[in-house]
Symmetry: C2
Subunit: 236 residues, 2 copies
Amino acid sequence: MIESINNERIKKYAKLDQKKYRNLEGMFIVEGEHLVEEARKRGLIIEIFSTVPYEDATLVSEAVMTKLSHLTTPPKILAVVKILDSKEIKGNLLILDGIQDPGNLGTIIRSAVAFGIDTIILSNDTVDLYNTKTIRSSEGMIFNINFIKTDLNSFIDKIKNDYLILTTNVKDGKNIKDISINKPYAIIMGNEGNGVKEALASLSNDTIYIPMSKSCESLNVAIATSIILYELYQNK
Amino acid sequence: MIESINNERIKKYAKLDQKKYRNLEGMFIVEGEHLVEEARKRGLIIEIFSTVPYEDATLVSEAVMTKLSHLTTPPKILAVVKILDSKEIKGNLLILDGIQDPGNLGTIIRSAVAFGIDTIILSNDTVDLYNTKTIRSSEGMIFNINFIKTDLNSFIDKIKNDYLILTTNVKDGKNIKDISINKPYAIIMGNEGNGVKEALASLSNDTIYIPMSKSCESLNVAIATSIILYELYQNK
């Protein structure tokens, strides 16, 4: 049992609350039994820590758990896990251009899994995938989808012949219900405040909008993304 | 100019960060010019405070602004406003049964305005409408919709002859695309963890589900609500 927060391993893992150390070590922390077991299914576990006897977990004191946890109410169990490998793309894509809110990113990931997206492409300025809030609001769905973090301009340039590339445009877009899909699609969604960057938007083959009441200017980005993914998923 | 955080009016308004005082005084605080102006349009302003000269605002020091603000970065301008009056219902309804997360509630309000809901009915155990996070994530849309906070069972009993009452049911529900609407509708949506309470669900005329991939168990409640509202809004 590890009782001291000065244990070398604990000190090292406690630093994983910072993005810099997550990238450096190639590890992140997932909290709670559900996420630990999801990570285990994918063979990503480095070490499990628990304040109560739990399978192959290392027993730790409450103080150590509090030190490792990023939550105000620490869980009974958490795990240090390997960051995810990127796989080849092979189906419909969601391209996220600078999403800033970790809760929005997590919610979008959950919806993307629900609506048949194979891979999420994250711009380099998107909020960190391994942020605790992102992981929590994804409800474990980060383990059910492929991620690629890259420069979006060169990525879209590479895929443009094989994909129908769509983005939103409130002024000139087509009603999302009227889009016809005849090949794999890639949806570009933009930042909370500013939308999709102009240079990226100009790379799309077509633009779409979600019809809505004039009383409301815009939807939350996670909502807009989910409605578009939902509609295209039904469209198949 | 008010410079002291011990000013009696400031001390009183600073307590509006607590739900108890908001209810007692019938007031709440909105932060930032956009929300202040939305409140003004509806004639709800009690007093505006600003750290820079601004129309009819009372000038205050940064310290006073920090005392009044609920944000970590206080705005330049905020207002104390009257809580909203409930009006008669007259169109489609959204009934929320025990939503707990203020961000979810705010996002749902924004989508409800976008998709033609006239009134949102809040159960007595729903998170407070005047919570700062709710107001912020609604993007000012709390001023564009009618709210009624009440006991849901007796409310639904009163409207059941005039409304098509729908709720979600993953097992036996109809595909949301296959619902036909021939009168005003009322959608009951449930709590983040537990869904709609059984006693309420049994009062619905029909149940619906959102088709999705088996890889994902469920959607975030704000997402599910928005997709249903979107779909029914297009259905008209």
